[in-house]
Amino acid sequence: MAPHPPTPESTDSSQSDQDLLHDLRNGRVDALGKLYDRYSKLVYGLAFRVLGNSEEAEDITQEVFLALWRRDGYDPKRGSLNNFLMTMTRSRSIDKLRSRGAGLRALQRIQGTVRSEWTAPPLEQVSIQERSQRVREALAQLSDNERQVLEIAYYEGLSQSEIAKRLDTPLGTVKTRSRQALLKLRQTLQDYI
């Protein structure tokens, strides 16, 4: 395994994530700007997918990048910056989702109708586009059932038994599907991890 996966570089591709993190740790706000340009759509997109509204997704995005600025916990030995940012974004978003009162759920249902929400990515982000394409192709190789359980688990943070209940499917089947789905994805995307 390569020590770090390739980064989703934009036009500012001359600097690796590690170079930018080095500058960031020397108090360089411009490095934060470059990392924002590289990862903000992913962070914001994930928060929006979980929470279903732009206002909360905006708050999470701000929290995540400011946490990075404050050097909260990223250790390059433990994985890529992408992994760190997505994990933090996902867990904070799911926490926020769970903290909502019942009264807000109706609003979330309306605002959370996130269907086919992708539009063409800007040309300057070619390698993000390529990675997105690869991930979509890899997901397309999963069965509908496998993809469904994996996405519910990832984006909604439901436990396997909650998923089993929602889909009216035996718990063992749900577990097998989600694990097989992840293993297949890893196999397909091995060049990227």
Binding site: M1, P5, P8, G27, V29, D30, L32, G33, Y36, D37, S40, K41, Y44, G45, L46, S54, E58, T61, Q62, F65, L66, W69, R70, R78, G79, N82, N83, M86, T87, T89, G103, A106, I110, Q111, T113, V114, R115, S116, E117, W118, T119, P121, Q129, R131, S132, R134, V135, L139, E151, A153, Y154, S159, Q160, R179, Q180, L182, L183, R186, L189, I193
Partner: protein
């Protein structure tokens, strides 16, 4: 890597660990496996990296344009140890072409937004998002006018089919009780069945600026007419309440 000493289902167990779905027994089994085979930590990392690629499936949702400068400003102000500053970059254009396209419409909308000073920052952000939306070629602007009891209400509806977004701006439309909501409907052609496009409420100040992704494609296509009704918030999406506003292109 060879794993001669590992149980047959070790990959599934590690996947379950990465997914966080292990039973207590399985968790104990994985703990022992990882202890005996430290190389398996790399497998766990790879699976976690794989999960972290899932959001690439969603990669094309643009954050609001003003968010970048908000974050950089916050970073700058909260750190007193930053050396005399590198200027903030604005290469992705926080205010790139504001007034070149749709400027006149934008000016009207920003005027409409300046209803009060409450949450000024949020409004500025919203204004910038709307301006950005107005610059898109696939944007339609409807003028909304109150009817009946809501005759004083006025506003605009901006829809964008590329970004699959609608933005509604209204004023002088009274706030509804919590059990009710204003619902937006699109009528693709004259006499067609209204298509449900989402619901919202106004504030105590009788205004709102709300952005959302509508449930149906017809909502961002060119409509013959758009309608706003006051409905029970939990009713099925069939228009039954009083018509409060209507709009045309």
């Amino acid at each position: 890597m060879t794993h001669a000493s590992l149980p047959d289902h070790w990959q599934e167990l590690i996947a379950g660990y990465a997914l966080g779905d292990l039973s207590p027994d399985e968790a104990e089994e994985v703990r022992r496996l990882l202890e005996a085979n430290p190389a398996l930590h790399q497998e766990v990392t790879q699976l976690q990296e794989t999960l972290a690629l899932l959001p690439y499936d969603l990669a094309d949702r643009e954050p609001p344009l003003a968010l970048r400068s908000n974050i950089l400003t916050a970073a700058q102000t909260e750190t007193s140890t930053i050396p005399a500053q590198t200027p903030q970059r604005t290469t992705h254009g926080i205010h790139p072409r504001w007034w070149s396209v749709g400027g006149a419409i934008a000016a009207v909308l920003i005027g409409a937004l300046a209803i009060d000073n409450y949450q000024l920052r949020r409004q500025v952000t919203e204004s910038e998002e709307i301006v950005a939306l107005l610059q898109q070629p696939s944007t339609q602007l409807y003028t909304l006018q109150g009817t009946g009891a809501a005759i004083e209400a006025s506003g605009s509806l901006v829809v964008n089919s590329d970004h699959d977004q609608v933005v509604i701006l209204v004023k002088n439309l009274p706030e509804l009780p919590q059990s009710q909501a204003y619902r937006l409907w699109a009528m693709p052609q004259e006499g067609a069945t209204p298509v449900y496009c989402g619901q919202f409420n106004t504030t105590a100040e009788a205004t709102t600026t709300t952005t959302w992704t509508p449930p149906e494609e017809e909502c961002t296509a060119i409509a013959h007419q758009v309608l706003l009704t006051a409905e029970s918030a939990s009713d099925p999406p069939i228009p039954a309440g009083e018509l409060v506003m209507q709009g045309v292109l």
